[in-house]
């Protein structure tokens, strides 16, 4: 029986903005099992990063505030912890890596300094032990000649190498859960393939759970076992990736899958699109937030907001008129 490492219940996060208070994350519930890679996917502004930051108590406050919910890590509610308690969790139990490693690395300190600092904070190692552990970790993430590169500064490395360093730092204390926020978005496809491979390999090796945040469904298809699809701050569909890609239930998921530019055997004249654009979260329409763009919309969609409802296929969908599951 797999047990959840992480259980998020009814998470809601709000921000104070020029246009008043906005709800960036609304009633989001999901769980992540030990050893599982879960994709959190959706277009920019839909609330992926804010969801990830909430899990680490990193939502900037003000202007942000977690207004509701529970975040249970191995059954313990992280939202009940104070800052000191949260700091103990961060890096040791739950780690996060970001799209642009330069923003997370200190440019004036060597990699060695930054890595040993994390290790010594959480693991009471001696300087020498920490340095050796850091070198080992750099080797594990595929950095050539780690004993030499450990004394370099972040700017001396390429984008792909820096992302590997971030992964090495994030994993150095053996977290149960890694949150990777668009870790390959800034990289070339070639480097993206290397880094994704590395994440999957390390996830097996360290038996940790991963939440992979991305706007790229192709990345989800290649790396994840399950995916959560977000739209306007809400989860609209959750499912294991095979049924999700073979037979999406939510019209938005279907539109997203269809609109990914893909290499085709035969060229087509026009790419399928989702008409219109994502509404402003400061002025969301009543009822289903996707209604203005939906090709299955009916009158009741404008009146009542659909809620995420489990379906027979181990998935869940928030739609009044979902697509029928296809069986083959």
């Amino acid at each position: 029986m797999t047990r959840p490492v992480l259980e998020v219940r009814d998470l809601a996060v709000e921000f104070d903005t020029e246009n008043g208070r906005v709800r960036a994350v609304n009633n989001v519930s999901f769980s992540v099992n030990a050893g599982e890679v879960v994709g959190l996917v959706g277009e920019s502004g839909c609330g992926k990063t804010v969801t990830g930051l909430s899990l680490l108590g990193l939502v900037p406050s003000p202007p942000g505030e977690v207004v509701n919910g529970k975040i249970l890590l191995d059954g313990h509610d992280l939202l009940k912890l104070n800052e000191a308690g949260m700091r103990k969790i961060r890096g040791s139990e739950v780690s996060m890596i970001f799209q642009e490693p330069m923003t997370a690395l200190n440019p004036v300190l060597t990699l060695g300094y930054q890595m040993t600092e994390v290790l010594r904070l959480h693991k009471s190692l001696s300087k020498r032990q920490a340095r050796n552990a850091a070198i080992e970790m750099l080797g594990i993430v595929g950095i050539p000649v780690p004993s030499k590169r450990i004394d370099e500064y972040p700017h001396e490395m390429s984008g792909g190498m820096r992302q590997r360093v971030m992964i090495a730092m994030a994993l150095s204390c053996g977290p149960k859960l890694l949150i990777a926020d668009e870790p390959t978005t800034a990289l070339d496809v070639t480097t993206q393939a290397q880094v994704l491979d590395e994440i999957v390999r390390l996830q097996h090796q360290f038996e940790m759970a991963v939440i992979l945040i991305t706007h790229d469904l192709g990345v989800v298809a290649q790396t994840c076992q399950r995916a959560l699809v977000m739209y306007c701050g809400e989860l609209v569909e959750a499912a294991p990736i095979e049924p999700l890609f073979a037979s999406p239930r939510h019209p938005y998921t279907q539109g997203l899958i269809r609109s990914i530019p893909r290499i085709r055997e035969h060229k087509i004249d026009r790419l399928p699109v989702i008409e219109g654009m994502v509404p402003d979260i400061a002025a969301l329409p009543d009822g289903c937030h996707f209604a203005d763009r939906c090709n299955r919309v009916q009158a009741d969609c404008h009146e009542r907001s659909p809620v995420l409802t489990p379906s027979a296929e181990a998935g869940a969908v928030a739609c009044w008129h979902p697509l029928e599951p296809q069986h083959d």
């Binding site: 277009e43 393939a193 192709g218 298809a221 290649q222 997203l256 990914i260 994502v278």
Partner: protein, 327 residues
């Protein structure tokens, strides 16, 4: 035979840079190194390669937004590199550019109408009334309503701003547009909308494009001919269908294989290139791709491969490799 619209021969753009490490000597960074291709009227050439391989530099050099060091760029038979300022200004009416971040290239203090009209003002085209009508025509052409004309760029989403950038580029009815990663910053659902628009405009107006992207799926959709760049050089060039169906250069094959398939494909074998792109300041000996090439043999380290040209199905294809892939 159709005359080419654009014929590029042996184009070179080097940047003087300081050497790395302990060397403070001036060195040359070969951003574009001996590039040649031709583009027929109404055709789109897709330019693809990893970041830093010289795509943007090549795009800018074609329009002389950056002066090339040497080579020739014939536009309708006339070498634009030999033109004086006045001739170049006149020629620029036919040659436009679209950028990745339309916000950066649009002045925040100008309304949409002013932004789109600017090229008409610069080239003194039409009366003020005619310019206004042309601007209205253009905004509709790119799928926006005339009501947006009095608003400012920051009020628009990324996709809308890119449409405004496109309208501006079309103002002078150019024959040729360099589009540098125009959809890379957009979300997928909007990306497809803008790609469809560009494709419509190609067909409707017969504009030729050099379309730069690092995304091979986007390149396939939009291009007639594709050129693959590595360290400043075109290493393979072919009609889109042959390039995707049977790449000849191992680098092209590796790029194609790295694109994540948009569906779960358990066990699909991908070629994962080891290492990073080497520095263009001191590229590797022989074939510059050899340190990363899965097909490399001893000769590749020492001897630079020459370009091979094949005729296939009425098209020419070129590749630069000692051991090209079979079919």
């Amino acid at each position: 035979m159709t005359k080419p619209l654009l014929e590029v021969r042996n184009l070179v753009k080097h940047f003087p840079v300081r050497g790395g490490g302990f060397s403070f000597m001036r060195q040359q960074l070969k951003a574009v190194d001996d590039v040649s291709f031709t583009l027929l009227p109404g055709q789109t050439l897709g330019l693809v390669g990893e970041s830093g391989c010289g795509k943007s530099t090549l795009g800018r050099a074609l329009l002389r937004l950056q002066e090339p060091n040497s080579g020739q760029v014939f536009f309708e038979g006339r070498d634009i590199l030999q033109m004086n300022r006045a001739e170049l200004k006149a020629q620029r009416r036919d040659m436009q550019m679209i950028f990745q971040d339309p916000f950066a290239s649009l002045s925040p203090r100008r309304t949409v109408a002013q932004t789109i009209r600017e090229p008409l003002d610069v080239h003194g085209i039409g009366t003020s009334l005619e310019r206004r009508k042309r601007v209205e025509e253009l905004i509709e052409l790119v799928g926006l309503r005339a009501a947006v004309l009095n608003r400012y760029p920051h009020e628009f989403s990324g996709g809308q701003r890119q449409r405004i950038g496109i309208a501006r580029a079309l103002a002078l009815n150019p024959k040729f547009i360099v589009a540098d990663e125009p959809v890379s910053a957009l979300d997928v659902s909007v990306q497809s909308q803008v790609l469809n628009l560009i494709k419509d405009l190609q067909l409707q107006l017969g504009v030729s494009f050099v379309f730069i992207s690092h995304d091979l799926a986007v390149i396939q959709h939009i291009s007639d001919v594709v050129a693959v760049m590595y360290l400043g050089r075109i290493v393979e060039q072919a009609a889109v269908s042959s390039l995707y169906a049977s790449p000849k250069h191992p680098y092209t094959q590796a790029l194609l294989s790295a694109v994540p398939a948009p569906y779960p494909a358990a066990g699909a074998k991908r070629i994962i290139l080891a290492g990073d792109v080497p520095s263009p300041i001191s590229p590797p000996s022989g074939c510059a791709f050899h340190p990363r090439c899965p097909a490399a043999q001893a000769k590749c380290q020492t001897t630079e491969p020459q370009q091979t040209t094949l005729q296939s199905g009425g098209h020419q294809r070129h590749f630069t490799c000692h051991y090209p892939l079979g079919n």
